[in-house]
Amino acid sequence: MKIIGKFSIRSLVVGIFLLVLLFYVLAPYVWLVIQSFVSYEHLSMSVPQFFPETFLNYLRLAGLVKPGGIYQMNVPPGVQYVGISILHSFAVSSTSTLIAIFLGSLSAYTFAKMKFRGSGRMLTTTIGLRMLPVTSVIIPIFILMNTLQLMDSLIGLIIVYTSMLIPYNILMLTSFFETIPSDLDDAARVDGCSRFQSLISVIMPLASPGLVAVAIFDFLIAWNEFFVALILTRSGASYTLPVIISMFTNVPQMIPYDYMITAGVVGSLPPLILSIVFSKYIVKGLTAGAIK
């Protein structure tokens, strides 16, 4: 194998390929972040700006600075709800994640540790139902939420998001729980635990990398969810961030790129921070079932 300096040709080729891949993945986001610090005038120009120049976009998004002159026309509708929509997104995502993890764990424990007739079919059906596209069930969801008077409410969103997340959680958590030796569950039961106590005291602590990984994915799914939120929200009482950002396109005179880009960066921060902080658990969770 030919060696160049300390590296073989093969490792150099692999390294270059990975760098290209990294660029392909990161470049759009880095570009987005840089452009969020570029003024509206320079955003509209055909010559791209590679360096940040101003914090004005963030100040405008936060409502701390009002745009003047002709730029008054590019203030998109809904910008006054940006702050509250972030809070709504956070509340809905974290609440539905917690409920889905808890309820999903109960089911996953049953499928993983309690063998009963039809359990295989039941698990497959649960997962299969999740395969239905949301668009095919949105009308019944709409009717249901309307009937229950949960339209335009955070509780309505939480209920729908939780029901979307649970089947996915059951699938993932069943796999994680199956990797935990059944002897531990048996030992806990002989020691005096009920099934529930065994789940809480023994199974879940041992499955914590998997639980954290699934929780992160749940949060990301809920945080980024747009379609259901668009249908079920009507006002500042329940708008989530993806819905608000979609409203920014409703400016016929001047497309508010500055607001859209800046809101996109702000909206990406919570999941990004979570992913970085819990990256160890995500990797552990993804690979947990891979090696026996």
């Binding site: 048996d186 806990a188 039961r189 002989v190 020691d191 005096g192 635990c193």
Partner: protein, 363 residues
């Protein structure tokens, strides 16, 4: 301490019958072993006693109380698993304390009991460690500590020594038996190791294919097997078997087959009686209950040496009688050649006679 009764227990998993119509009584303070090959149903039977499996038929009684519907934690039994099943995220102290913590034992009393259990097993200095920091023998002691800490009325042990190396296994066998005797706790022990069963048990229950084949003391199951299977399972090397007919000619009886003819002494024939006349039987004898001679004597069977295995204090010799291979244990200084002819003398006063059809003991 408890008396445990299994009454007509049957357990199936789909089409597989794991335990079939098993009934047995474990006396108070008794050390009873369930012994058998892998898949014979011994672990399933143990798990039924523990409450980890529900029988399809039959009842389990602990001290006269039917416990079929009681949860494992409510039966006041403790279990030691083959894998020890120590909670990896808890320290040794927390592992041992766990059964007491679940029962909401007051903290002072809990600490006292944990320290007592740790002291009894010599693991006080390990209390702050996690299971992954312990050796196999130490983990075993912690598992025992978790079992004894709440003074159960019965121990259930599922091959607890099988993960230890041979030397440690021998040491722990003795310690386990001493501990059980000291505490006087009724114990049901599951193993596939005959030595463990023979050395530790008050009684042994031999199981095969979900059924009980024999119950008795170590001596009884070894020296007086009830059937061919028990005779062939117990003992290393196992019992030898030769199929033949009890032929009577001119008032003299003999074990006869196309490969050999062995006269039966009159005294033995009298004991065997009319019921064995012209009957197809299986003649069983242990390797140590036969000798070899180089002369064609009265009562000796001509054989050919197939293999010779020196084992230090003896020779294990494989002999061919027709298509049958017979193993005998002889003194180590006997000079034998492979493929040579030798004559086998079976000690007829130590043979076991089984019916060929139903494989059950006749004599």
């Amino acid at each position: 301490m408890s008396e445990i009764v299994l009454e007509n227990i049957t357990k199936t998993f789909g089409k597989v019958v794991a335990v079939e119509n098993v009934s047995l009584k474990v006396r108070k303070e008794e050390f009873l072993t369930l012994l058998g090959p892998s898949g014979c149903g011994k672990t399933t039977a143990l798990r039924i006693v523990a409450g980890l499996e529900k029988p399809n038929e039959g009842n389990v009684y602990i001290d006269g109380n039917r416990v079929n519907d009681l949860q494992p934690g409510d039966r006041n039994i403790a279990m030691v698993f083959q894998s020890y099943a120590l909670y990896p995220h808890k320290t040794v102290y927390e592992n041992i304390a766990f059964p007491l913590k679940i029962r909401k034992v007051p903290k002072d009393e809990l600490t006292k009991k944990v320290k007592e259990a740790a002291s009894m097993l010599g693991i006080e200095e390990l209390l702050n460690r996690k299971p992954k920091e312990l050796s196999g023998g130490q983990r075993q002691r912690v598992a025992l500590g978790r079992a004894i800490v709440r003074s159960p009325t019965a121990f259930l042990m599922d091959e607890p020594l099988s993960n230890l190396d041979a030397k440690l296994r021998v040491q722990m066998r003795v310690e386990l038996k001493k501990l059980q005797s000291k505490l006087g706790i009724t114990t049901i022990y599951v193993t596939h190791d005959q030595i463990e069963a023979m050395t530790m048990s008050d009684r042994v229950v031999l199981m095969n294919q979900g059924r009980i084949m024999q119950i008795g003391t170590s001596k009884e199951v070894y020296s007086h097997p009830d059937n061919v299977w028990v005779g062939g399972f117990m003992g290393t090397p196992p019992m030898n078997f030769l199929e033949c007919i009890v032929e009577t000619k001119n008032g003299h009886a003999a074990f006869t087959s196309e490969d050999f003819k062995l006269s039966i002494p009159d005294t033995m024939a009298k004991v065997m009686g009319e019921k064995t006349k012209d009957r197809e039987v299986v003649l069983g004898f242990r390797p140590e209950d036969a000798t070899l001679t180089f002369r064609d004597e009265e009562g000796a069977v001509k054989t050919r040496v197939y293999a010779i295995e020196p084992i230090g204090d003896a020779l294990l010799v494989d002999l061919l009688i027709g298509q049958n291979i017979i193993k005998v244990r002889v003194r180590p200084d006997l000079e034998l050649q492979s493929d040579s002819n030798v004559y086998l003398r079976i000690m007829l006063d130590k043979v076991h006679l089984f019916d060929k059809k139903n494989q059950q003991k006749i004599l």
